[in-house]
Amino acid sequence: MMASSYKDEDGHISVSGSGAPAGAVGDSLRSKKPENTAFKQQRLPAWQPILTAGTVLPAFFIIGLIFIPIGIGLYVTSNNIKEFEIDYTGVDVSSPCFDCSQKLSWNSTRPCTCSITFQLDQPYESNVFMYYGLSNFYQNHRRYVKSRDDSQLNGNEESLRKPSKECEPYGKHSNKPIAPCGAIANSMFNDTLELFYNEPNGTRVQIPLTATGIAWWTDKHVKFRNPGGENGNLTAAFQGTAKPVNWRRPVYELDADPDNNGFINEDFIVWMRTAALPTFRKLYRIIQRRNNLLPTLPRGNYTLEVVYNYPVRSFEGRKRMILSTISWMGGKNPFLGIAYITVGSVCFLLGVVLLIIHHKYGNRTNGADISH
């Protein structure tokens, strides 16, 4: 005997058969009644917030009360950061670097130097960070960003000999692989900046600049590695490679310090971390505070000596040197503080407005008139 329950499911007859009559009775007993569970009947316990003036009032006040102090804190912190910026591009005829900027090109071999004097109005107490800033330099150009070979920079021998095609057309030069390949490396910033303190007595004291510790630790120790192992001879490791066309020196001669040479040269690493925006600064040197009693940079006159190598006229760029102390929130930027204060105040005001509204309309929001 065949018991069956046919059901039409996507136009298809399906048969569920069972051999014995007893089974048939069992089948027919199974009701199709849906289970009466909270889930299936959509009656799960739920929190149903209703956004009305009365219920959200506290939220606005709380936001206001939290944001305003944060904003004030940020603003004060930002204001305490001392920052000095000087443009040494040399666009102006009066500028000391005008000459250099005019005759400079990537191919020029003779270094051009110029020196600019400036005055710091207040002493810089803590460690001072020295940045170079570029404007109008689109390090975020899509093809530019891609134009690198990370595995080459990670010390991969194979990539060293055969750079990725992303590096094109800066992958090979006269049939030798370029190390480091790509447009980013090729366009590396190569001005040299030196800072001198002009003591009131007229002597120029060079300010010691630390060139290490300016890159991310992970970049220096994980992402960037020299080919040929830790202590190998860099010159040998880079044997058979060409230097990037715009570079004056090969990569293994970037620095005398073996820990800051080759791919793990920190200036190089910093440059390779492509900036997000066309106007950017990059950490160049750190001026360590040597003496707890004296400020790092006392008030007075300074001279910036620039070895002017980097042409920016092709993109109407500007070059700057920035000296800045630093806080937990990074460099000087009053925006966040102001924004917090503004938003906090707006929320507070809205809270007040809502309070009024709540008093005016609050009583009738109890479902009294569903009259539409």
Binding site: P34, L51, H141, R142, L153, E166, A276, L277, K282, G367
Partner: protein, 1311 residues
């Protein structure tokens, strides 16, 4: 396998093609060829019975599925983009990465398809391997084989309760009359038994059937999908031809019932069977929301192109502005730089790739997922479950759930949709005399009152002989009647409701009218035995006609029970109480039998045929019965045990009515009808022919030979207007002149019945002379054997005979309203839907039902349109329209305007729908709250729906239960089928199938609303989400020289869309609940939010797009300003942007979510956690893996930076502040109805109900009032009090309805 020449193969293939395509097929038995190779088989060209419904095969799955998927335009678009990414000059990312989203999406779809196909494959396998018996010549007997082994030309034996494996031409049945009962529930859901007859004259060697002796050829038509039609000829060796029709065809999928076994010849097998040809898969419709969505996708496309153009132009200008060749411009590998114009041209395409997710790729998949979830919840709603039929709501169209929330026009069928379609005989008129059946009315009134009686009464009653009324009819005391009524009620209480509608004594039993009973007893006893006048008495004729003139199948009550039915009530044996009661029942019947023997003399000898028939019937019962109790049935047939199963419920009602007067239909075979008369004698009428019902003639007739008078009598019953014009004047000799009066009186009664809302039928008789019959039957036979135009010819012969009829009388059958229909209609009207009822009934009946179901209200302005010619129709239409317009514009009527209702009849409707008038008609209909169309044909029904749908551009819903509603259901945006008494055709054509009309309320008001708001909000959110996210990239273009740089790692970007932010909106689309079901049902007005433009419209779309722009601006520029002129690198800059975007997008959703369940919390927090975990892991692991972005340790270093948190907090707050504030202000100052509904929700249930009540009480229309207030106008006959049972009119408190009444009164005074 032997080698065959290719030529032979081609010839063979062509031959097969020809054989399959030809109009007529000639099939012969396979038996002589058994064991021969395939090439010699005569029926080799026809497919075998193995079915394959799978779409794919394992080998071809990939190409086929891909082909299917590429039919989707969206998929093609994304593949196109992925390919674009492979072109070096324009690519934005690594080419392979661009393929990921589309691959993920397509893989998911393919997996889903594969799973579905696998399930189909499994069920195919199961079906193909079901056992069946095929005759084998070698074994000389039927051997058990599998379904897939059945071939055309085989002989298959089917036994009781077995499913028919293929379309079989019935040659032999164990029943001596060659009848085989089948149940077609699997095909069309009809649970009543149907008779099939063996092809006559083929099987002569009774008992048993020798397949080997079958040497006829079967000529049949090409397979088609018409389940009710089949043409076939059996050509005997002597060239004699016998026609066979659907009456002899056992369809695949049917179940054999009440027949021991039957043998059939396989005519169609496998995919050629009618049931397989009818399987055309589930329907797929495009919902309104999806159509709108596609428009918005198009807008997004425009937006995308605009943004890309801006990008390209910007890039051009940027390049032009460069004075030289800067070091950051990377030439191509040849060292060559593109011209700015060419570069910007390429940039356009690169931008498209970068910004592609502006077109929400995952939206379509998400919508599908959400709908699956929504359907899950709809089908699992316990409120939409019907205990009686054990059926849930069925969602047959899977993608229009949200349309349920936007319905503006509801078109409803009447019979079976608003009413039960359980017919109860109420009154009759015989020979111009009206018999009001007051006692019956009282009984029904009693039934309606809630009353609980004990089972004991039910059992006691079993001892009462049923035939008492006919024998000692005079003394039925009212208390007795009441007592019986309560007995029936108690049976309902005890038994739930019976699974078989017409066998339930509650609905079907009639208490005879005393006057009529007397009349009959007088006629019976009047002229002594077998007096000619007795047989001529019209009263007796009337009831004989009721008993005979039908196609009711008689079955045993317990035989009916043993169906392997899914209803829990069918399992009688499991209930000791019921077993006990059935024991008592048998005891009772035993007593009854004894007492009957005492005074019943069987005067008319029962023919042998009838006797064997009854015995066979019982045998059938015994063999098939599932429970042992039924086997001990008594030796004679007891009317108690009889069940009448009819295709149309009014037929059964009439048979039950006849039974109440003692005219008991005992058995029906194709050739005879056995009727027991009140006197106890059993008459066997030879049935010469049955002229079946069709919608053109609107009547059916049975031609019988009277066993006593040997006259040929034609009994015809049909709709009054189709009968009245066919009346002749036979009784002229003795009642001349009165005849006309009878017709007039009957017509008057018919009109009165109609006004009461009863369904009317006229019963007529005609005595046919022998010669007329002879000539006619010849023609008839020819018509039946005709291969062409068979239907037309058969109908013609029917019309020929149905002339000069004598009117016997008329019946009024009540079709009671389903429970809660008035409330449901009220709710639909309050919800802003225009309700139209389209019925084939007469206007009077329809108007009455209209009042009863609250479609029309007393205070409504009812416009009645009925006109004969187009000219009047035009003028009436113009006048009415003018008046209605004036009425609406009159400022004094603003508050008091009653709803305008329109009643229109079929003829007028045809004229009104003619092209020149339809504008005006639609304009009028638009202003009417409800419209009632009477006397409409199925075609008109769909015409009306189409007209309204197209002219008014509104969402329409059609609900119906019968085959006549199929057109309408298909024409409407949403078709709802009610699985009722009239089979499953409506359900098959529908998008949703429900079992009661009242379920429509919850389906629309609750599920419709939910589905719509959920999906609408989800879709808006999806657009918002993508625009907001993509714009972050777009704003960045202004700072990277429009070079299509992405500051977010591409993997994280993909994950962002695919994983981090995809589940919450889907969840939102499935689970969100703005207002609870109780409030939605209590305040139907809330439904209006979804109507018309709804929540997803032009404005909401663009507001959300604008909001997306604002939010992306905030999310971009706050970090930008914070990081400006710092040493931040691209991807460090992108990290807070991505995080801010995540928080903004998720919290935006959090503002939108109306109810937070545990699931919401888990998914929301889970998404955030997933983002952090994945991003952290990715940044920790990936040192050089994803070249341009170098995500290594970026996220970690950011998370160690307090600035990151400060920026994220600030941006998120600022981004969401406007939306949040806007909501707060709007909710406080001008709360929407939905919000008020939500506030109602927060109250405790009792207060809430109080509010709802009060609110409803204040409403002008006075939606709650008792039906008694609006008595239907002009009942000329005495109207019974319970005219239309208002079973739950008091679902609101009495005090409240009083309140409303007074309000109404006041209003009337005011106007």
């Amino acid at each position: 396998m032997t080698w065959k020449s290719p030529l032979a193969l081609v010839r063979e293939a062509l031959e097969g093609q020809r054989a399959r395509e030809s109009e007529l097929r000639k099939l012969v038995s396979n038996l002589p060829y058994e064991g021969l190779e395939k090439g010699k088989q005569p029926n080799r060209f026809f497919p075998s019975n193995a079915v394959k419904t799978t779409k794919y095969s394992p080998l071809l799955f990939l190409p086929k599925n891909l082909y299917e998927q590429f039919h989707r335009l969206a998929n093609l678009y994304f593949v196109g983009l992925a390919i674009l990414n492979f072109i070096p000059v324009v690519n934005a990312f690594q080419p392979e990465v661009g393929l990921i989203p589309i691959c993920v999406i397509m893989c998911l779809t393919a997996l889903k398809d594969a799973w579905e196909d696998f399930r189909r494959y499994q069920s195919d396998k199961k079906i193909n391997n079901m056992p069946c018996f095929i005759y084998s010549r070698r074994e000389k007997q039927y051997v058990e084989k599998r379904w897939k082994d059945v071939r055309v030309g085989d002989f298959v034996k089917v036994v009781c309760n077995e499913i028919v494996p293929a379309d079989l031409l019935l040659l032999y049945s164990s029943d001596p009359n060659g009848v085989c009962h089948i149940e077609t529930a699997n095909l069309d859901g009809e649970t009543n038994l149907k008779q099939r007859t063996a092809v006559s004259g083929v099987c002569t060697s009774n008992p048993g059937f020798e397949p080997e002796s079958f040497n006829c050829a079967v000529v049949c038509e090409r397979p088609n999908n018409n389940l009710n039609h089949f043409k076939c000829l059996v050509e005997k060796p002597d060239k004699d031809r016998v026609g066979a029709s659907i009456e002899s065809l056992l369809l695949r999928g049917c179940t054999v019932r009440n027949t021991n076994h039957a043998v059939g010849f396989v005519v169609y097998a496998g995919h050629e069977t009618k049931s397989m040809l009818n399987n055309n898969g589930s329907r797929s419709k495009r919902s309104k929301l999806e159509r709108k969505l596609n428009v918005d996708v198009f807008f997004c496309l425009i937006l995308l192109f605009t943004m890309c153009l801006i990008g390209a132009l910007g890039h051009y200008l940027w390049l032009e502005s460069l004075p030289g060749v800067p070091p950051f411009l990377v030439p191509d590998s040849n060292g060559h730089l593109d011209e700015p114009s060419l570069a910007s041209f390429y940039m356009f395409f690169t931008m498209i790739i970068l910004l592609q997710i502006l077109i929400p790729i995952s939206l379509y998949v998400s919508i599908e997922l959400v709908k699956v979830g929504q359907i899950f919840f709809i089908t699992n709603d316990i409120d939409l479950y019907d205990e009686e039929t054990d059926s849930r709501v069925q969602c047959r169209a899977l993608n229009i759930t949200e349309d349920l929330g936007q319905i503006e026009y509801v078109f409803s069928d009447k019979t079976g949709t608003l009413t039960e379609n359980k017919m109860v005989f109420r009154r009759c008129s015989i020979m111009g005399t009206e018999y009001p059946h007051k006692e019956n009315a009282i009984r029904l009134a009693v039934l309606d009152e809630p009353e609980t009686e004990e089972e004991v009464i039910f059992n006691q009653h079993q001892q009462l002989p049923r035939t008492r009324w006919s024998l000692e009819a005079e003394g039925i005391s009212p208390s007795d009647t009441h007592w019986q009524g309560s007995r029936r009620k108690s049976k309902v209480a005890a038994n739930g409701q019976s699974d078989a509608a017409f066998s339930s004594p509650l609905e079907t039993e009639v208490i005879p009218d005393q006057k009529l009973l007397q009349q009959i007893t007088r006629a019976e006893s009047g002229g002594g035995h077998r007096d000619s006048s007795r047989d001529k008495d019209p009263h007796l004729d009337f009831f004989l006609a009721l008993a005979i003139c039908n196609t009711v199948v008689v079955s045993m009550a317990n035989a009916h029970r043993q169906r392997a039915c899914t209803s829990p009530h069918s399992s009688q044996t499991n209930n000791p109480l019921e077993a006990f009661s059935s024991l008592l029942k048998r005891a009772g019947s035993f007593i009854q039998r004894k007492s009957k023997r005492n005074h019943t003399i069987l005067e008319v000898p029962v023919t042998d045929a009838a006797k064997t028939d009854s015995r066979e019937d019982r045998n059938g019962v015994q063999t098939c019965s599932l429970h042992p109790l039924s086997q001990s049935g008594g030796p004679t047939l007891e009317p108690e045990d009889l069940c009448y199963e009819a295709e149309s419920p009014d037929e059964a009602a009439l048979v039950y009515a006849a039974r109440a007067y003692g005219f008991i239909l005992l058995a029906r075979t194709p050739d005879s009808v056995t009727v027991r008369l009140p006197s106890g004698e059993e008459l066997v009428f030879e049935v010469l022919d049955t002229l079946t019902f069709d919608s053109n003639r609107k009547r059916m007739s049975v031609l019988v030979r009277h066993p006593v008078t040997k006259e040929y009598v034609l009994y015809t019953k049909g709709a009054d207007y189709s009968i009245m014009e066919l009346l002749g004047t036979p009784y002229a000799e003795h009642i001349s002149g009165v005849e006309k009066n009878i017709a007039a009186d009957t017509q008057h009664h018919l009109d009165c019945y109609a006004k009461e809302g009863l369904r009317t039928l006229c019963i007529t008789k005609k005595v046919v002379s022998e010669s007329t019959y002879r000539s006619w039957s010849g023609e008839r036979k020819r018509a039946k054997a005709a291969m062409e135009c068979r239907e037309e010819q058969i109908m013609e012969t029917a019309v020929q005979l149905e002339t000069n009829l004598t009117l016997l009388g008329a019946t009024g059958i009540e079709d009671r309203l389903q429970e809660n229909v008035p409330e449901s209609i009220m709710a639909l009207r309050e919800a802003g839907m225009h309700v139209w009822v389209l019925t084939g009934d007469k206007p009077e009946t329809a108007v009455n039902i209209g009042y009863a179901c609250r479609l029309l209200e007393e205070e409504d302005l009812v416009i009645n349109m009925s006109c004969k010619n187009k000219l009047t129709c035009t003028s009436i239409l113009d006048c009415t329209l003018e008046e209605v317009r004036r009425y609406g514009e009159d400022p004094s009527n603003v508050d008091t305007t009653p709803n305008i209702s329109l009643v229109i009849d079929g003829n007028t409707l045809t004229m009104a729908m003619s092209p020149d008038l339809q504008e005006r008609f639609v304009d009028l209909a638009k202003r009417c709250r409800s419209v009632l169309c009477c006397r409409v044909t199925p075609l008109q029904k769909s015409g009306v729906v189409k007209l309204v749908r197209e002219k008014l551009k509104v969402m329409t819903l059609a609900v119906g239960d019968g085959a006549n509603d199929v057109n309408m259901i298909q024409a409407a945006d949403v078709g709802i089928g009610i699985s009722g008494q009239e089979g499953m055709q409506a359900v098959m054509a529908s998008d949703f199938a429900i079992s009661r009309f009242k379920h429509l309320t919850k389906l629309l008001l609750v599920h419709g609303h939910w589905c719509y708001t959920r999906l609408a909000n989800m879709v808006i959110y999806f657009f918002y989400k993508n625009v907001a996210y993509v714009n972050l990239l777009f704003w960045y273009q202004f700072f990277c020289g429009f070079t299509a740089t992405a500051m977010i790692d591409y993997w994280l970007m993909i994950f962002f869309n695919l994983f981090f932010t995809s589940t919450p909106p889907i969840l939102f689309g499935i689970f969100d609940k703005d207002v609870s079901a109780e409030v939605l049902l209590g305040v139907p007005e809330l439904y209006r939010t979804g109507q018309g433009k709804g929540e997803y419209n032009f404005l909401t779309f663009w507001i959300s797009i604008l909001d997306a722009f604002y939010q992306s601006l905030v999310c971009f520029f706050i970090p930008y300003l914070a990081y400006r002129d710092s040493d931040v690198d691209i991807f460090t800059f992108g990290t807070p942007l991505n995080t801010v975007a995540l928080f903004t997008i998720l919290l935006h959703l959090a503002i939108e979510i109306k109810s937070w369940t545990l699931v919401h919390w888990i998914i929301m927090l889970g998404s955030v956690a997933l983002y952090f975990v994945v991003t952290l892991a990715y940044s920790a692991v990936c040192v050089t893996c994803n070249p341009p972005s170098n995500p290594y340790w970026i996220f970690q270093s950011q998370m160690a930076d307090p600035m990151f948190y400060l920026i994220c907090t600030l941006s998120t707050v600022v981004a969401l502040l406007p939306r949040y504030t806007f909501y707060v202000l709007k909710n406080s100052v001008a709360p929407s109805p939905l919000l008020q509904g939500r506030q109602l929700d927060r109250m405790d249930p009792s207060t809430r109900d109080q509010w709802i009540k009060e609110w409803r009480g204040f409403r002008g229309g006075g939606p709650v009032k008792r039906y008694e207030l609006s008595d239907p106008p002009t009942p000329t006959l005495e109207t019974p009090a319970d005219f239309f049972p208002d079973s739950d009119a008091d679902f609101m408190g009495d005090d409240l309805s009083l309140n409303v009444i007074t309000q109404n009164r006041q209003r009337v005074v005011a106007t």
